[in-house]
């Protein structure tokens, strides 16, 4: 065992293939079931995933990998059902905030020991913060962080110019940003989507005042970490924004359409909206850019961050499944992956690759992710009850409806969240 590790460490220095080479010890035939997000199982993304698979299987004779794509909720439903019947995929993706459910049903293996057996420089490739979110305890590691996002602020430059706003420098503080929103409204256009409609967009605005320590859960005593003073301030922001918004959520197609047709100035969302806006820039001359979401003070960033994870199921294939998981999350693959999709990921070394960091969407995303707030941390500890998100949304909406003052809304929201978590 020890020699195997040393041997691996010796060769591992550079390429991923080397790490794979050590795995050639798997004599018997193994087929790995590998579940990915549906986006990754189509078109160019699929072609590259298959390239990764080929490189891995070439280095591991006898191993076969079956790739299957699924939509977000479908991944969860399939993994939960698979755990119940003992038919789990061997390597799979999902979102961080689903992690606790997957641990609870036994879908995720603790890969800490295997990870620590990797050469140090491979381990160090991962973004420290991202990796830490996979570790609820010092000796428990339930995932390898994969692709991710930090929320971005998409700006429609035509709208801003029409409202007489200088677009050369993005707003650096909330006050500056809010002043711009008001100007846009005065010019007869929409400033921003209704940010109270979706949990993630509430988080994005909360992060302009709060941070990861005042968001998420205190699992020790099952309470929310949301801070009353901060929430009061944030609810006030929602009240202030209410007359300026489109009435649609940040995820609605109608919101994107308003942005494309130059009637909406700002759109806070993850990088996945960029292909739509890129197409629009080509076909209808949309002028837009993406910047960091400004916080209360200069230098502070709003927005949330979250990662997709690669998990390994416990079972007879665990060993080779981990080999595969560490192969696809290794720098060489992650850099190629990032370049192909222009998507930020948790391999910091890959993000630092000059060719990767030259991509504007990734460059901004790296900064956004560093400044952003964790969406639902800490992860992998306990299952978030289904009442949690809806309570946050409910009180944010009720406050903008005028049913509560921001101070009351924050107080009631926190009391109810604690009740929800205590169940």
């Amino acid at each position: 065992m020890r020699t195997n590790t040393t041997l691996r460490a010796a060769i591992a220095g550079a390429t991923l293939l080397a790490a794979g080479g050590a795995g050639a010890a798997f004599a018997q035939d193994v087929t790995l079931e590998y579940w990915v997000y549906s986006d990754f199982a189509q078109g160019d993304a699929l072609a590259m995933q298959q390239e990764f698979i080929k490189e891995f299987t070439d280095a591991h004779p006898g191993v076969k990998v079956n790739i299957t794509g699924k939509g977000d909720d479908d991944l969860t439903a399939g993994q939960v059902a698979g755990a119940a019947s003992g038919n789990l995929p061997d390597v799979f993706m999902n979102a961080q905030h689903i992690g606790a459910q997957l641990v609870e049903v036994g879908a995720l293996a603790n890969i800490y020991d295997k990870f620590m057996a990797l050469p140090e420089d491979v381990r160090n490739q991962f973004d420290k913060d991202a990796l830490a979110t996979c570790m609820p305890k010092p000796d428990e590691l339930y995932c390898l962080p994969y692709t991710g996002f930090g929320s971005l602020l998409f700006r429609n430059l035509t709208v801003l110019e029409k409202a007489g706003i200088d677009t050369t420098t993005p707003p650096t503080t909330w006050d500056e940003w809010f002043a711009q929103m008001q100007k846009v409204k005065e010019a007869g256009m929409f400033a921003i989507p209704d940010e109270t409609l979706v949990f993630n967009s509430i988080g994005e605005i909360y992060a302009t005042s709060g941070n990861s320590q005042t968001w998420g859960f205190n699992w020790d005593n099952h309470t929310t970490r949301i801070d009353e003073a901060t929430m009061t301030k944030v609810l006030q922001k929602f009240v202030d924004m209410a007359p300026l918004n489109t009435g649609t959520s940040r995820n609605d197609q109608a919101t994107k359409d308003l942005f494309i047709s130059n009637q909406l100035a700002f759109h806070t969302i993850g990088p996945w909206v960029n292909p739509t806006y890129e197409e629009a820039a080509k076909s209808s001359g949309l002028k837009y850019d993406f910047v960091l979401i400004p916080g209360d003070t200069a230098g502070k960033t709003g927005g949330v961050r979250s990662y997709e994870i690669v998990g390994v199921a416990p079972g007879p294939n665990e060993e080779v499944a981990f080999e595969f998981a560490s192969f696809i999350t290794e720098k060489t693959q992650m850099a190629r992956w990032a370049k192909l999709l222009s998507r930020y990921n948790a391999n910091a070394a890959a993000m630092a690759d000059p060719e990767v960091s030259a991509l504007p969407l990734i460059r901004v995303s790296v900064e956004a992710a560093h400044g952003a707030m964790d969406l639902a941390a800490p992860y992998f500890v306990d299952t978030m009850p289904s009442c949690y998100n809806s309570t946050v949304i409910d009180y944010a909406s009720a406050t903008t409806d005028g049913e509560y003052t921001p101070a009351e809304g924050a107080k009631e929201m926190i009391a109810e969240l604690n009740g929800c978590l205590a169940q």
Binding site: S38, N66, K70, A77, S85, P89, Q253, W272, E279, S283
Partner: protein, 284 residues
């Protein structure tokens, strides 16, 4: 009333009103679908919800999207799986439910009422309750990722039984007695008397079963986890995820393609639906 009188008869307020109403409703029913069709046949990146699109703007863009979907996803394979799944389910449901409906509607035997009552009660239990236990059972049978795993658990359709019982009640008892006097066996009466009298009801059920099976999402999702067992619903589901990187017109293309087989199935059999219910109904 023949068609000519309908058109040439005196034009009353009622006629005008009737036509206006019918046309208005037809527009409400069909226009959104036509609109969707126009979204598919347009350049990607155009805003879709803001201007009412009355006509397709780019035929070639639509064809490109359709070709992309057929080549880059397992859509054709999924058509095959879905159609096989639907047809096998239809055959099974029709056979099994009609056998049972024949007995429940036309004969008296101990336990009949209670058994029928339990089946009706089962109709009222939401699928969400049973889906995991049914799934665990199917997986214990080793039927994950198999066609029988998709089809067999859905064959005992309480809806199908309910519906066929309603229709078979209309079969005149005298005809059954007459057949028995002619020396026909029990099964022969079912096959040669009851079934032909209800053939139209059976066609109706076939269409409803097709539409239902085609729209079934959760069950195929957990049973057919491998790409080669994906149904159309699952392939389309890959496009529908909320954070998808696809532009919306591509998503719509994938969805619209899924509507074609049930539409064809309906158009082929639609005449028989109405005639079917009417014919077997007159006997009641």
């Amino acid at each position: 009333m023949s068609r000519t009188t309908a058109l040439r008869g005196p034009v009353t307020v009622w006629t005008v009103l009737k036509w206006t109403l019918a046309i208005a409703i037809a527009i409400v029913a069909v226009f959104p679908i036509w609109w969707m069709f126009n979204v598919v046949f347009s350049q990607p990146g155009e805003p879709v919800s803001l201007n009412p699109r009355l006509w397709p703007t780019s035929l070639s863009a639509g064809i490109d999207k359709i070709r992309m979907i057929f080549t880059e996803t397992g859509y054709l394979g999924a058509y095959f799986i879905s159609i096989t799944y639907a047809l096998l389910t239809i055959v099974g449901v029709l056979l099994i439910a009609s056998l049972a409906a024949f007995e429940f509607s036309l004969f008296k035997f101990p336990g009949r009422r209670i058994m029928f009552g339990i089946v009706m009660l089962a109709l009222m239990v939401p699928t969400a309750v049973t889906i995991i236990p049914t799934y665990l059972l199917t997986s214990r049978l080793g039927w994950l990722n198999t066609m029988q795993g998709l089809v067999v658990p859905g064959l005992a359709s309480a809806f199908g039984l309910f519906m066929l019982v309603q229709f078979m009640r209309a079969v005149p008892k005298e005809m059954i007695e007459a057949a028995r006097l002619d020396g026909a066996g029990h099964f022969q009466i079912y096959w040669h008397v009851a079934l032909p009298l209800c053939s139209n009801a059976m066609i109706t059920l076939a269409i409803l079963t097709f539409i239902q099976t085609w729209g079934n999402y959760m069950w195929p999702l957990i049973i057919g986890t491998r790409t080669e067992m994906y149904t159309v619903g699952q392939v389309v589901g890959m496009f529908n995820s909320p954070l998808s990187h696809h532009t919306v017109d591509t998503v719509m293309t994938a969805n619209l393609l899924a509507a074609i087989p049930p539409l064809l199935f309906f158009l082929i059999f639609q005449r028989k639906i109405v005639e079917g219910i009417a014919m077997s109904g007159t006997k009641g």
